[in-house]
Structures are given as C-alpha cells and as structure tokens.
C-alpha cells in the first residue's frame, strides 16, 4: 500500500514540479537578444579598465551589446581568422599586415598608441638605467644572464619582445630566460617575485605599479612604440559575422567622441592611451 501512496505522491508533486522547472529554464534560456558584437582584444586594453570605461558609452549610443574577450594579440587574431569574433583590437602591426594580406580582416584603423617599458629590480644588476637604446638594453640583460620573464604567449608584447631580441642578435637561453605563457599582469607579478627584468605595455604597468616593487628602468626609445588598431573580420569568409556591428564599433572608436573618451581615460592623473585616429 505504501508504495502506491508513494507513486501517487510522485505523480502529484514531483513530476509536475519537475516539468515546471524544465519549462522555466528552457523559456529562460530562449530569450531573444540583439546580436552582440564580439570583440577580441588584448589584456592591456581590458585589464587597464579602458574598455570597461568607454564601451558603455558606445552601447548606449548605438543600442549594441559588446562582448569583450580579453586574450593576447596572437590569440585574438586567431579568433578572428576562425570567425569566432566579429572584430579585433590588437597591437602587433606586422602580424596585422600578414593577417590582412591573408584576407582574414578588412578596414584596419589605428586607434591609439602608448609605449612599452622595460622594468626590473630596484638595484638594477644589469645596469640598464640611463641606457638610450632598447636593443642595447636587452643585450646587457642577456650578456649578464640576468633573469628575464617573457610572456611567451604570442601576444603583441611578446611579438615586440621577440623582434627586439632578433635586432639584438641574442638567443634567449633557459638558464636566465623564463618563458611563462601568461598574461601581462601575471608576468609583472612573476618578474616582481623573481627579481627579474621584463617588458610591459605602459598601461598594465601603470595599473599594477603600486602593487609591485619593480622599477621602470628604461623608456622612450621610438623602437618601443605600441600602436593599437581595430580590424573588422572579413564578412565574406563567414556569413554570420556581425559586420555592421563591427563597423559601427570601428566608426565610434575612431570618431571625435570615441577618441575623446580614450584621451580622457586616466589613472592617477596619467593618460594611458593616446588617440591617433583623428588629427587635431
């Protein structure tokens, strides 16, 4: 008898309850939203807080939703190449050119610049403070076998670093060179812990500066220019690409309004990025 009771109780409560829950969740997950704009970008633009600050203005103005994926430049370009995002904001001009030539992207616009800086321990065992030339700086670090922490993740910063090693005609060796495969923030922390040298984009450095004992030891070589560009993914390669959304984001970022928002973004009173799309 008891079992029949149980069966009936099942029927009345649990089964119906379950069905209701199911319906609720299916309906919930089926709510139709406007097609989001998928932006793959570098950790420096996102972790610095720039995008979180300025993207909402764009979203409000154009009633678009932007999904920001923050990865390294190499990864971002790959996401665009595979059609997994609609637009990329990256900083590796050479790689971007190859990418455009291969037909993966269209309508490249340069958006803003800042620069790379070379950081190291306060006592500067390699003696790079006061050096004038980025290439010579790296040579000094390499010759002295001072520990250098590298992104090693094919990001824009890593590409720049590799280009500099090439110019310095130096082959990093595992005895002093630490390739980590981590984002910029992690690399700065690791360099800090290891009392090592590293190269960083200025924005991430400024954001993390107060939490690190690393010191800025080298800056100012034109070689260390860091140019950010935005590129739409080629819509002819993938039918579902949100090309209109991508182009409206490009238009806004390179508009007077967008450029002003970038200029006004400051940390501790210091500008992190300098707009380049429109000449004053």
């Amino acid at each position: 008898m008891m079992n029949i009771n149980i069966v009936i109780r099942f029927d009345k409560f649990l089964v119906k309850k379950y069905l209701l829950w199911f319906l609720f969740f299916y309906l919930n997950s089926g709510i139709i939203q406007a097609e989001p704009i998928r932006l793959a970008t570098t950790t420096s633009t996102d972790n610095s807080g720039l995008l979180q600050e300025i993207i909402p203005y764009f979203e409000q103005k154009t009633r678009n939703v932007v999904h920001v994926l923050s990865v390294g430049t190499g990864h971002a370009l790959r996401l665009g190449q595979d059609g997994n995002v609609d637009v990329v904001l990256v900083h590796a001009p050479n790689a971007e050119m190859h990418w455009l030539e291969a037909g993966y992207g269209v309508n490249r616009r340069s958006v803003m610049v800042n620069d790379f800086v070379i950081l190291g321990p306060k006592n500067d065992p390699a003696g790079i403070r006061g050096e004038r030339n980025a290439v010579k700086t790296l040579q000094k670090i390499a010759r002295g076998k001072h520990i250098f922490v590298s992104r090693g993740d094919d990001s824009g910063t890593h590409k720049k670093e590799m280009a500099l090693w090439k110019k310095a005609r130096m082959t990093p060796s595992v005895t002093w060179y630490r390739e980590t495969g981590q984002g910029m923030g992690r690399v700065l922390q690791m360099a800090d812990e290891l009392n090592a040298y590293t190269i960083s984009d200025r924005a991430t450095w400024l954001v993390l500066r107060s939490k690190l004992s690393l010191k800025l030891l080298f800056e100012g070589d034109p070689e260390l220019h860091n140019i950010y560009s935005i590129i739409a993914v080629n819509p002819s390669r993938y039918p579902g690409i949100n090309y209109m959304g991508a182009m409206s984001l490009i238009a806004w970022l390179t508009s007077v309004d967008g450029q002003n928002k970038i200029r006004k973004f400051k940390l501790d009173g210091q500008s992190l990025f300098f707009p380049t799309a429109i000449l004053d």
Binding site: N3, I4, I6, V7, R9, F10, D11, L14, V15, Y18, W21, F22, F25, N28, S29, P36, R38, T43, N47, Q52, H67, V68, L69, S70, D82, G83, N84, V85, Q182, G183, G185, R186, L188, Q189, V207, L208, K211, L212, Y238, G240
Partner: protein
C-alpha cells in the same frame, strides 16, 4: 601578513556592501551551473536506472567507462568542445562558442558521468522488492522507476549535490568556451583567475569565500542527508 589581513578585510567589505559586479558574477555562476545540473539530472538518472535494472550486454564495460570519465580533466572537455564549436568546426554554424549555452553544455558533459555513477550506486543500494512490488501492484514501468528513485531520494540528492559541487568549481571549461566575458560568461572561477592576474586579490578572495562557503554548505547538507538516510531505512 599584514597584506593578507588587509585584503581579506577588503574582500569581506566587498561581499557585505553588495558590490554589484561581484554579485553579478556570483549569480551568473549559479544560474549557469543550476541550469546545467537540472538539465542533466533526469537523463543521467534514467541511464543509472537502466544500468542497474536493465539486462543487456556490456553493462560492466559501460560502468567502467563512466567511472573512468569521473576524473576527466575539465580542460580536456573544454578543448574538445572548443574544437567542435569553433566556426571552423562541425558545429560552427550554431555560433555557440563564447556563450552561456556553451558553458551549460560543457558543464552538463562534466557532471553527467558523476551523476550516472553515483546514481547507479544509489539505485543499486535500493531494495529490489520496491521495483517488484510496484510492478505487481500494477504501476507502469516508469511509475515504478520513480518509486525506486523516491526510495533512494537522499542518496540521489547527494549525487546531485556532488555533481553541482564539481561544476560550480570548475574553471577549464568556463575559461575555454565561455571566454570570461564580463556580465555574460564571467563566473566565479574565471573571475578569480582574472582578478589574480590583475593583482586585485581582494576581489579574488571575496569570490573565493563565496565558493568556500558554498562547498561548506553542500558538505553540511550532504552529511545531514546521509544521517537522515540512516534513520529512514
């Protein structure tokens, strides 16, 4: 040491002042994992039941497979789904990569073996006569099955809680196919990884505390249910 105390203090402040970004992340985490577990549970227990009450060849092999899947690394599931869901992959046209749906699918795959294996153990422990009695009394098979489920409801609930604990604390799948998009696919674990990389330890610790509290609650609930079970059977 002082730094640790200070960050923990900041973390508690974030938690109790209702920092909106933090709570968005927490809610998102729960919403995704709850959907995943609720969608998986019925099907998983159906499979558990078939394995324990069915008579077909290869049951032992299937069970062995499910048991070995229990320890599959989450990044492997993440990678596997990434390859399937990328635009160049076989399911690329669905455009699911970097969506909540993809995260839910990934977590469903992750908790499925757990639910099947633990569900199987629970149902095996049930008295065979429950099924036989229900059948003899004229209940159709699926009613009888639900009767068996009801008999071992606490053990089944424990299985669900264990599965939920596994998916809410995983990071491999969420990072790889969710993409850590703010307000959309950023959950507790991916946020902790990101905040740590930004040096924002307070936010990371606050989120970690939420996870810790949750796992404590789940464990407490589990041991309560186990105690309860002993009294009723």
């Amino acid at each position: 040491m002082n730094g640790l105390l200070l960050t923990t203090q900041q973390a508690l402040q974030l938690l109790f002042t209702g920092d909106s970004e933090l709570w968005t992340i927490v809610l998102l985490s729960f919403s995704v994992s709850l959907k995943a577990i609720l969608l998986t549970t019925p099907f998983a227990f159906l499979v558990s039941f078939a394995l324990s009450h069915g008579k077909f060849p290869g049951i032992r092999i299937i069970l062995a497979i499910f048991n070995s899947l229990l320890s599959v690394p989450t990044v492997v599931i993440g990678l596997f789904l990434y390859v399937l869901l990328t635009r160049q992959g076989p399911f690329g046209d669905l455009r699911l990569l970097f969506t909540q749906t993809a995260m839910i699918i990934g977590q469903m795959i992750l908790c499925f073996p757990t639910l099947v294996a633990l569900g199987y153990a629970a149902i095996q422990a049930a008295d065979r006569r429950v099924w036989e009695t229900a059948r003899t009394l004229g209940a159709p098979p699926w009613f009888s099955m639900l009767t068996v489920f009801f008999e071992v409801r606490f053990a089944l609930l424990a299985a669900v809680l264990t599965g939920f604990g596994r998916i809410i604390s995983e990071i491999g799948i969420s990072m790889m196919i969710g993409g850590n998009i703010l307000g959309y696919t950023r959950n507790i674990t991916t946020a902790i990884a990101m905040e740590t990389s930004k040096g924002e330890f307070a936010q990371g610790i606050a989120l970690g505390l939420v996870l810790l509290l949750l796992s404590f609650l789940l464990t407490a609930l589990l041991s309560y249910l186990q105690g309860h079970k002993e009294f009723t059977t």
